[in-house]
Symmetry: C2
Subunit: 332 residues, 2 copies
Amino acid sequence: MSTFRSVVLGDDGVRLLDQRRLPHEIVYRVYADPDAMAGAIRDMVVRGAPAIGAAAAYALAHAARTMDAAALIAAARVLAAARPTAVNLAWAIDRMVRRLELDGPGGLGDEADHIAAEDVATNLAIAEHGQALVPDGATVIHHCNTGSLATIDYGTALGILRVAHERGKRIHVFLDETRPRLQGAALSAWELAQLGVPHTVIVDGASGLVMSRRAITCCLVGCDRVAANGDVANKIGTYNLALVARAHGVPFYVAAPRSTIDLATARGADIEIEERSPDEVTQLGGIAIAPAGTPVFNPAFDVTPAELVTAIITEHGVLRPPFGPALARLGG
Amino acid sequence: MSTFRSVVLGDDGVRLLDQRRLPHEIVYRVYADPDAMAGAIRDMVVRGAPAIGAAAAYALAHAARTMDAAALIAAARVLAAARPTAVNLAWAIDRMVRRLELDGPGGLGDEADHIAAEDVATNLAIAEHGQALVPDGATVIHHCNTGSLATIDYGTALGILRVAHERGKRIHVFLDETRPRLQGAALSAWELAQLGVPHTVIVDGASGLVMSRRAITCCLVGCDRVAANGDVANKIGTYNLALVARAHGVPFYVAAPRSTIDLATARGADIEIEERSPDEVTQLGGIAIAPAGTPVFNPAFDVTPAELVTAIITEHGVLRPPFGPALARLGG
């Protein structure tokens, strides 16, 4: 088990490990009402599709101690709008609203605990199914952060690598730094260092050179939403990595809890891509790295078409193309 | 003409515009001896294949005022070793050494002036030949910095875009920020802002999304070395961009002065790829962005195979595949 939790329910509110401060310091912040939590999700105090779903659920569970049902429904709407691309957020909030309708505010603590516990179980199942794809001696390229910080524990793609390491496989992980927010350099490198998993950080543009000069076993990433046809929305840069992998014949695997599968979205082009502040690109730690006022396009996610995905690793097993029928059988 | 020069010979030494300080401040530093200039090239006070060639030539020209031929030959060796990948550096130093052998130290000022003047003429010729590839209304993706800062004036790839703009073509340039050193965000954005060329900065991982959602006319990059078969060494991330361009059917153009063509190198795999300090990746403006001690692989360049290059734009015309015979005709 990891020594940190990114989302914890306390008596005074939901405690979030502030991921904007890592790796420099470990700071927890308490969010006592859903509006504040929506702000924390927008500002990326907590990020990662499963983690923001659980954080929103816990925010509603805490609010249920004092709010009535009507107020909770309104709060749920605010939380659902905090970030648009990851479907887990809407999925977790839907579950909370259904439970509210069934059992009233008193059921929400239990439902949030279930969402969190299921996340850990889901990740362990994904990790189990993923072992067949990560043999002893594997060298893997990973994008963004998909570890304990992005979930309740273990993580999705990084969870597979953590379990591989725990079972004594000798693996090496190249971590894309993942501009603009550097989740790979700041968060994944921090997690893998704590776990003792050998790793090397590279800039996002170096994956092609790495694949041309090293034998890479596979690329392994998480996702924020899987469309019904198998198109995958994930952190910006994922699509470029998938194209580079295809050019080198390197398998490209996506770890996806069922909660990220969105059968209501036919294909990737239908997924709303969140655009974030230019400041994420032009400033770092408050320091300007581009001329003042430089125009910026800062999409937070991109879409990797299903044809570039070798397999989707879910808690129910490893899906292979054609993904449409396999995803439909799983349900969304 | 631009309002700044990155390399200027003065009475007290060679003045370099410190590119590490841009876009924050315009600071010139004076380098009075070749060892100091070699350090400035290594530390990237000046960068860009043509600019470092001219800077080294001027350092020898200045040294020739006080050094004898034997000392100048030794200084030339130190300068040539400052950075290994760009061939212009070795090319410029070879020219200076040949002139030294012919005319003694007294000829070096003239030779350095010739190298600098030829660079401007070369860039204007490249810009002229490149116009056919950048029509009115073009939207172009550019990587790294290839402008006045990377040369004596105008630049190579950015020179083409500058001339297109000067001729009234309505163009828009997406600038890869170009991690780790951010030459796109810090330098190219600064140059294009001064010139009034419309531009938008993106992270390197966003080029795929941009190509999937926008009509992109072409990618246009410079290079540090062209092998005899047309393989191109350029700033890390160029190869990934070329793969993304191929997947989208976007033409990929390389602007290459003849001085970057190295017929003595058969193919890209034979080009030495400089590895630079992990600090370039793990720190920004002195701030750590990864855990202390994080292992890093930081190659400064990558190799784009000739098969991904649509055309090579030289001062003698636009070369099309197969590049081997076309490059051989040009000489190197």
